[in-house]
């Protein structure tokens, strides 16, 4: 007999343990027939459809009969799953990406290619870690016995981490100062040390030397001013509107010329570009995109400082 009810019952019972299939099937048929009878609807086909629609998705009903969670990873394993996933993504992934980038750099001596292979392994290894871990936890949550589940989730307050002091912490400004200082040092160093060795033995800077009779200076001064302001923010006692304005000026001095040079494709030494890329030239869109990202980061930084300045003003 191939009625709609029969199809529905089959869909449910094939998803529950074999031992109870026959009994559940019989009961389900009787129940659906009872419900149908009570409807007292002349159009039997329409009534049957309505009753089955009310019973709902057979997969869901079967899960209820089998007392199985309707989730890939049940609520009892979810916290452990998130912890392990975060741990793996934060430790294994960077190591693998770094190793693959270094290996690529050593083998091909091509920074662009190494960055590409780094991004590639970031995506593939990240997806692999995610997929396998999810599969493992799915199997665990399906086949683990109930009281065992309770044991794996036993959590104690010892696992709590100390609260990070978000307010007035010195860590963020110090990190920011270090970053700006490193950029300033790199900017000068690449011009003085001429780190790139061309095929013909010439030593080249990375950035265009012509910048030093122009826009390199506001960038350098902006960076140094940012370092000073960061240090003041970290260790100074007073914070006032003047330091917010200082940030605005310094960030503008650093970001605007940099974004303009990248946009104008005037940032790199042409000889260096020729050595690295050969005859290939990066599409203009890459430069415009990078310039926009630089501008966006600069604006975000300024907005953060303005907000902090306002909060500090209100707090006093």
């Amino acid at each position: 007999m191939d009625t709609l009810t029969e199809r529905y019952v089959q869909e449910v019972v094939r998803r529950i343990p074999a031992a109870s299939r026959e009994d559940v099937g019989r009961e389900l048929r009787a129940t659906i027939a009872d419900t149908l009878e009570a409807r007292d609807e002349p159009d039997r086909a329409a009534a049957e459809r309505a009753v089955l629609t009310e019973m709902g998705d057979p997969i869901r009903l079967a899960a209820r009969y089998a007392d199985r969670p309707l989730a890939l990873i049940g609520p009892d394993l979810y916290p452990t799953y998130v912890r392990v996933l975060t741990m793996l993504l934060a430790t294994v992934l960077p190591v693998v990406v770094l190793v693959s980038m270094v290996a690529d750099l050593v083998e091909n001596n091509d920074l662009g290619g190494a960055i590409g292979s780094g991004i590639g392994s970031l995506i593939t290894v990240g997806a692999q870690v995610f997929a396998w871990l999810t599969l493992a936890f799915f199997l665990l949550s399906r086949y683990q016995h109930r009281d065992e589940r309770a044991r794996t989730t036993a959590w104690t307050p010892d696992a709590l981490r100390p609260v990070r002091r978000a307010d007035r912490s010195t860590a963020a400004p110090v990190a920011s100062a270090t970053w700006h200082a490193a950029l300033a040092v790199l900017l000068v160093w690449q011009q003085l040390a001429l780190p790139y060795r061309a095929a013909n033995g010439d030593r080249l800077p990375v950035l265009d030397p012509a910048l030093w009779s122009g826009l390199a200076w506001p960038i350098l001064l902006g960076l140094l001013a940012l370092v000073a302001l960061d240090l003041h923010r970290a260790f100074g006692r007073v914070r006032d509107a003047r330091s917010t304005v200082g940030y605005l000026v310094a960030e503008a001095a650093f970001t605007l010329p940099l974004a303009w040079l990248v946009w104008d494709r005037a940032i790199f030494d042409p000889r260096f570009l020729h050595e690295v890329n050969g005859t290939w030239t990066a599409p203009a869109a890459w430069y415009s995109g990078a310039a926009l990202i630089i501008l966006a980061i600069g604006m975000l930084e300024v907005m953060k400082r303005v907000r902090e300045g306002r909060q500090a003003g209100q707090g006093c």
Binding site: D23, R26, E27, A30, D34, T35, E54, G56, R64, Y65
Partner: protein, 119 residues
């Protein structure tokens, strides 16, 4: 300055969804209370419905089997009528659990009464 966000709350909707949470656990107690006389799935659903206990068939039928598996209900197929039906009735263990749950229920009502009087 203290920032505060006031959400627009649809009161009727909020009550409906919270009430559903409140009622969820009471279906088991209602079943245990009703099944002193044997009944089959659909008839029990109708009785519950008439008594004002709103529950869907796709929740009730699996629930009955689960209670049976836990030993709180027993079941028997009745083939006397034209359509064979599975009749459930409460077991001795189920009756003990029911009495315990009724005690819990009264405690809850007392507690909430006390709390709402003070408020």
């Amino acid at each position: 300055m203290v920032h505060s966000i006031v959400w627009r709350v649809d009161t009727a909707e909020a009550i409906a969804s919270q009430a559903q949470e409140l009622r969820r656990g009471t279906v088991v107690l209602a079943c245990l209370a009703l099944l002193t006389t044997p009944q089959y799935g659909y008839a029990l659903l109708e009785t519950l419905d008439a008594a004002g206990v709103a529950v869907d068939g796709n929740t009730l039928y699996p629930l009955l089997r689960r209670l049976e598996k836990q030993g709180l209900l027993t079941s028997e197929w009745n083939t006397d009528e034209s359509r064979p039906r599975k009749f459930y009735r409460i077991s001795a263990a189920g009756a003990a659990v029911r009495d315990g749950l009724i005690g819990e229920w009264h405690d809850l009502v007392d507690t909430i009464d006390r709390l709402t009087k003070e408020a």
